[in-house]
Amino acid sequence: MRIGTLKTDYAADEALFDTRLQKLLILLACAAAVLFPFVASPYWLFLACLCAINVASATGLNILTGYTGLVSLGQAAFMSVGAYTVAVLEIHAGTPFLLNLLVGGLLTALVGIGVGIPSLRVKGLYLAIATIAASVVLHFVFAHWPLTGGMQGLSMPPARLFGLALDQPFQLYWLILPVTALMVLGAANLFRTRVGRAFIAIRDRDISAEVLGIPLLRYKLMSFAVSSFYAGLAGGLWAYFFRVVTPESFPLVNSIFYLAAIIVGGMGTILGGILGAVFMTMVPELLKFVAGLVTPFYPDALALLAPVRTIVFGALIVGFLIFEPHGLAEIWRRIRRFFHLWPFRT
């Protein structure tokens, strides 16, 4: 229940987390994230890292597709650019991992700008096809360029911090989670300013955006740049996590996975990118768990897992499109609204 907002200045009203309960929940979430590695098994840490990487990438795609309205099916290909850059730098230059990640992100942003150039003229499905074309080109380059190791790909050494190798999920957790948290925070900040508002304006009505003084091409390319910077960073984290990068590491299906994640989570909300990515990453695990429960009664359950997984994914996407087009974030908002009025109105 919320009695009043009690804000006395505009800064309080513009804050990212504006109620005491929200701040408390965030604090609790941070504390939980810090304690988690000390209590969880390596398997759960592995999943947590995977979730975080997917959150980073989905948030990037959300900036481009959810907020700016430019449909992209190239997110996985952009991740591969970041992953390969990090791998090549780690193998040949041995530079510090944070620098490698940053270079990977920036290089991917440049590639993203290149891919985004047609976006001034083509929209919707046509732009999606253009990004698929770019994915195919990138795949071809990575599969044939000697520097990227052809079809065998690259195996890279682990990230090192003061001589300590970050090669276990426990250590990588401390790299991946903070980077992802900063990226999500950056995205949330972006949409409190003129830049983020310009993105939304382009999504909602690009003609009147122009009349308000928003140069369309510039902001569309900026959106592509930010989105692919995020993809590049996520790809770099992915590379440090798995330490093998091949052309098949980032298939087109993964791009669809990220698009599905933001649809399921809620397009155009920061929370949506987070919830969607975590949800989509955890669904296979949930299915595995259910299969494990069923095995005593039905021994073939595990063999059925792969096809069932695909069917469940498809059903989830269709189900969300029909029943909850605003995604998990909207469900969360409904829960919040309920408790704002509770117990006076139920």
């Binding site: 950056g186 304006a201 009147s208 009349v211 003084g213 928003i214 140069p215």
Partner: protein, 277 residues
């Protein structure tokens, strides 16, 4: 500058439309349209449906490139200036069929109006420190204290635009245009589809904007009662040509104007004043 009954000193003119012609394929939307908007005035463009009023607005905004002729804003030719740049120069407009951003709240819509005058770059935005934060908070304070209070929309500031009734949306669009720090405000049918009371409210806001904000107003409007009540100068378009201009009183009795409207039934009578109808 052909067709100007009153000669104006150049510094009094904020907008000059000089011999503008516009054609879509074989259709001539505007033919040699010339008129001037005096600084600090309310100038209305009227004319029957299809006379080319919105085409004229779109040409001034920079969406259409005229086949010949030129638009001069504050002594500067706008030829080759893209719409976003025109916004930065102080040219603001609203649209006939309301062009608000449906997915955003009223406050965010109004904030968007200031876009061209803000400096926050991408990197500032990602960290929301320093300039980004300062600029956003200044903007918020100014919008709250000058625009939202002025237009009496405090109660809907956090509402999503999609949920608002028509009359309020028009007012939010005006608010957004005011956030653009306009020097010339172009209103495309500001009271279309409004009832008497809403129309009077809007007319009062338009007059107040002119007085308190020191903004020149150019509007397209079909509501003759309002046009005759609040405009200083009226330009009449028909079939893409200026057929008359002058004070509201002079235009009402202009034979060419009466003839243009007579073809449209009782509009001729409506033109001679709301009482006569």
């Amino acid at each position: 500058m052909r067709g100007l009954p009153v000669t104006l000193a150049a510094r009094d003119v904020i907008l000059g439309v000089e011999g503008v012609s516009l054609a879509f394929g074989g259709v001539r939307a505007l033919t040699d349209v010339s008129f001037s908007v005096r600084r600090g005035s309310i100038t209305a463009v009227i004319g029957p449906n299809g006379a080319g009023k919105t085409s004229l607005f779109n040409t001034i905004s920079g969406f259409y490139r005229p086949r010949s002729g030129n638009v001069v804003f504050d002594g500067r030719s706008l030829a080759g200036t893209a719409p976003p740049e025109r916004a930065r120069l102080g040219l603001a407009r609203t649209f006939q069929n309301i062009a608000l951003f449906r997915g955003m709240t009223v406050l965010d819509n109004i904030k968007l109006g200031r876009h061209a005058h803000m400096r926050t770059g991408l990197l500032d935005a990602l960290v929301y420190r320093g300039r980004a934060r300062r600029e956003e908070l200044e903007l918020r304070a100014e919008i709250e204290e000058r625009i939202i209070d002025f237009l009496e929309i405090q109660h809907i500031r956090n509402a999503p635009v999609a949920t608002l009734p028509y009359g309020l949306r028009k007012r939010v669009e005006l608010a957004r245009a005011l956030a653009m720090r306009p020097r010339l405000l172009m209103l495309d049918e500001p009271v279309a589809g409004m009832n008497r009371e809403e129309t009077e409210d809007m007319a009062r806001f338009i007059l107040d904007v002119k007085e308190e904000w020191d903004v020149t107003i150019l509007m397209v409007e079909h509501d003759m009662g309002m046009v005759m009540d609040i405009s200083d100068h009226v330009v009449v378009l028909n079939f893409g040509q200026v057929i008359a201009e002058g004070s509201p009183a002079a235009v009402q009795v202009d034979p060419a104007v009466v003839a243009a409207y007579l073809g449209a039934g009782d509009l001729g009578r409506r033109l001679s004043g709301p009482e006569a109808a």
